[in-house]
C-alpha cells in the first residue's frame, strides 16, 4: 500500500487511523531517513491509542515505554546503536515475551536480535510532503492493512 501525506497534520492523522487497527502483540518497523517523520507517525499512533502527553523522541533514551489503556507500547529508536548486542543494555530480553505494540525506528541497527516485523513502513521525502510504503510481512500485518485498506481513498 502506498500513500502520500502532504503535511505533518496528515501524518499524525494517518497514525491515529493506523492505531485503530493495532492490537498487541504486533511489531512495526519504521524505516526512512532523518526527518522523514518516523517519530511524527509514532506520535499519531500514540494519540490514536489515547496517549495525551508529549511524545519525546527516543533517539537519546533509545526506548520510551508507554502504558496505555488499550495496550503497552514500546517506542524504540536504534539510530545510536553501535552494535546490536547493545540491545542488552535496554533490557530488551525482559521485554521480548510481553504482549505489546512495538514501534521500531532504525530496526536495521538491531538486526538479528529484534522480534520479527509484522508490518514494514518505509517513509520518503516527496515534494514538501512524505510518501509512505506499507508492506505486510505476516498475516497479522495483512490484517492491519486490510482494516485500514480504504484510507487513501478517504484521504482524497
Amino acid at each position: 500500500m502506498e500513500l502520500w501525506l502532504p503535511t505533518e497534520e496528515a501524518q499524525i492523522a494517518f497514525g491515529e487511523q493506523l492505531a485503530c487497527a493495532l492490537k498487541p502483540p504486533c511489531v512495526i518497523f519504521l524505516e526512512g531517513d532523518l526527518g522523514t517523520g518516523k517519530t511524527t507517525l509514532a506520535r499519531g499512533i500514540l494519540r490514536g491509542l489515547g496517549h495525551q502527553g508529549a511524545v519525546r523522541s527516543p533517539t537519546y533514551t533509545l526506548i520510551e515505554p508507554y502504558e496505555l489503556a488499550r495496550a503497552h507500547l514500546y517506542h524504540f529508536d536504534l539510530y545510536r546503536l553501535d552494535d546490536p548486542e547493545e540491545l542488552e543494555y535496554l533490557g530488551l530480553r525482559d521485554l521480548l515475551g510481553r504482549e505489546a505494540i512495538w514501534l521500531l525506528e532504525w530496526p536495521e541497527r538491531g538486526a538479528g536480535l529484534l522480534p520479527k516485523a509484522d508490518l514494514l513502513i518505509r517513509m520518503f521525502y516527496q515534494a514538501e510532503g512524505r510518501s509512505l510504503s506499507l508492506t505486510p510481512v505476516t498475516s497479522r500485518g495483512e490484517t492491519i492493512l486490510a482494516e485500514i485498506g480504504d484510507y487513501p481513498s478517504r484521504q482524497a
Binding site: L34, T59, Y60, G91
Partner: protein
C-alpha cells in the same frame, strides 16, 4: 564526608570523589583516559555502553589521582535512574556492593538532579532558589529549583531535545553524526541575514519547546537553495547559522520568560548544549538586561560525569538519607518523586 560517585546511566562512564569540606578531589570520565596494560590492556571498544569493563579501573584511577586509600571513603553514590536499565544496573550493583564491602552508607542518585546541582560544585556557587535550563542531546527542560530535592518542572521539549536537533541538522547538512559542535563551527562563517528559521512555540504562552520541525525546515531550505545556488558550502554555512540563531533565540526567549514568571533572579545552564558559545553570549546579555545572573558548570561537567553524582549523593548522605541493601535502579523516575533535603 568523602563520597565516591559513579555515573553509568547512558553512554559515558564517570567516577569522582567529592569531599564536603575540601571540594572535588578527583574525577575521570572514561573517554578522557587511557586504561593501561596493568588492567589487562587497552579495552577494545566493543560497545560504547560497555560500563562493566570501564567502571572498576576508573574507580582505581580516581583513588590514585586523589592519593586516597579505599578506607578513607565515607559513602558511595551511584546513578540509580533515569536511564538505560542495563547501564544503570552496572553502576548500581557495583556502587552498592562496594559500599557494603567497605561498610559505608550508599545512596542512589537521580541523574537529572546531578545535572541540576552541578553548578554548585563551582565557585561562586549560585544560591537557592534558581531556574535551571537543562539542555543536552537527551533533554531540554526548564526547572524551578527551590532547594535540594524541591524541583518544579516549568517546561520541556515535546519532541526532539535541542542537542538532538543540532546533531540531526548537522547530519542533514552532510556533517558526521553526532555533529552538533561541528554545526556550531560551520555557523561561525554563516551569514545570519540570508535565511530566517522559525522560533518554535515562542509566539504563544508557556515554557515548553518543540525542535523537531527545524529538521524539515532545514531540508526544504537546503533543497530549494541547492537547486539554484552555485556555492553549496556557503549555503550550508548560512543555513547552519540560521538554524543556530533560531535555537539560541528560542532558548533565550523561554529562559527570560521563566525568570519573569517565577520571579527568580538566577539562571543556571547545564547540559552539553550549554557549552555553545553563541548561546552563552546571548543568554548572558539577555539575563543581565533583566537584572539577573547566569551560572554554568565547567564544560566538562556540562555533559554526563561522576562529579555531579558524587556531589548530589554527598548532600543526601549528609542529610541522613541512604539506600537499603536491596537497590532498585529505575529506567523511568519522575523528578517530582525525590524527597527534599
Amino acid at each position: 564526608m568523602r563520597v565516591l560517585g559513579i555515573e553509568t546511566s547512558c553512554d559515558e562512564t564517570g567516577v569522582a570523589i567529592y569531599d564536603d569540606r575540601a571540594g572535588l578531589l578527583a574525577h575521570a570520565v572514561y573517554s578522557q583516559v587511557e586504561i593501561h596494560a596493568e588492567y589487562g590492556g587497552v579495552v577494545p571498544e566493543l560497545a560504547s555502553r560497555d560500563h562493566v569493563r570501564k567502571t572498576l579501573p576508573l574507580i582505581r584511577q580516581v583513588l590514585e589521582d586523589a592519593g586516597l586509600a579505599r578506607a578513607s571513603i565515607d559513602g558511595v553514590a551511584f546513578t540509580a535512574g533515569p536511564g538505560l536499565i542495563g547501564a544503570l544496573l552496572v553502576g548500581s550493583a557495583l556502587g552498592r556492593s562496594l559500599a557494603w564491602a567497605w561498610k559505608v552508607p550508599a545512596i542512589g542518585v537521580h541523574h537529572m538532579e546531578g545535572h541540576l546541582l552541578a553548578p554548585l560544585i563551582e565557585t561562586p556557587a549560585p544560591e537557592f532558589p534558581f531556574v535551571a535550563l537543562l539542555v543536552s542531546g537527551g533533554h531540554t527542560q526548564l526547572v524551578d529549583v527551590i532547594g535540594i530535592g524541591r524541583y518544579r518542572i516549568l517546561g520541556e521539549s515535546l519532541d526532539d531535545a535541542a542537542g538532538e536537533a543540532f546533531d540531526k541538522t548537522a547530519k542533514i547538512l552532510g556533517l558526521p553524526y553526532p555533529g552538533g559542535p561541528e554545526l556550531a563551527r560551520l555557523a561561525e562563517s554563516g551569514d545570519p541575514k540570508r535565511f530566517r528559521f522559525p522560533r518554535p512555540m515562542t509566539d504563544r504562552p508557556g515554557l515548553d519547546f518543540s525542535f523537531s520541525g527545524l529538521k524539515t525546515f532545514t531540508l526544504n531550505t537546503l533543497n530549494k537553495e541547492l537547486a539554484v545556488s552555485e556555492d553549496s558550502q556557503r549555503t550550508k554555512a548560512d543555513i547552519a547559522r540560521a538554524f543556530e540563531e533560531a535555537v539560541v533565540d528560542t532558548l533565550v526567549i523561554k529562559c527570560r520568560r521563566a525568570l519573569r514568571e517565577t520571579g527568580r533572579r538566577r539562571l543556571i545552564l547545564a547540559g552539553g548544549v550549554s557549552a555553545n558559545r553563541r548561546l552563552r553570549e546571548r543568554m548572558d546579555a539577555a539575563i543581565a538586561a533583566e537584572g539577573g545572573e547566569t551560572y554554568y558548570p565547567r564544560p566538562m561537567f556540562c555533559t554526563d560525569n561522576g562529579a555531579m553524582i558524587a556531589f548530589a549523593g554527598c548532600q543526601r548522605l549528609l542529610a541522613g538519607q541512604t539506600e537499603p541493601l536491596a537497590f532498585h535502579p529505575r529506567a523511568r523516575w519522575p523528578m517530582g518523586e525525590l524527597p527534599p533535603v
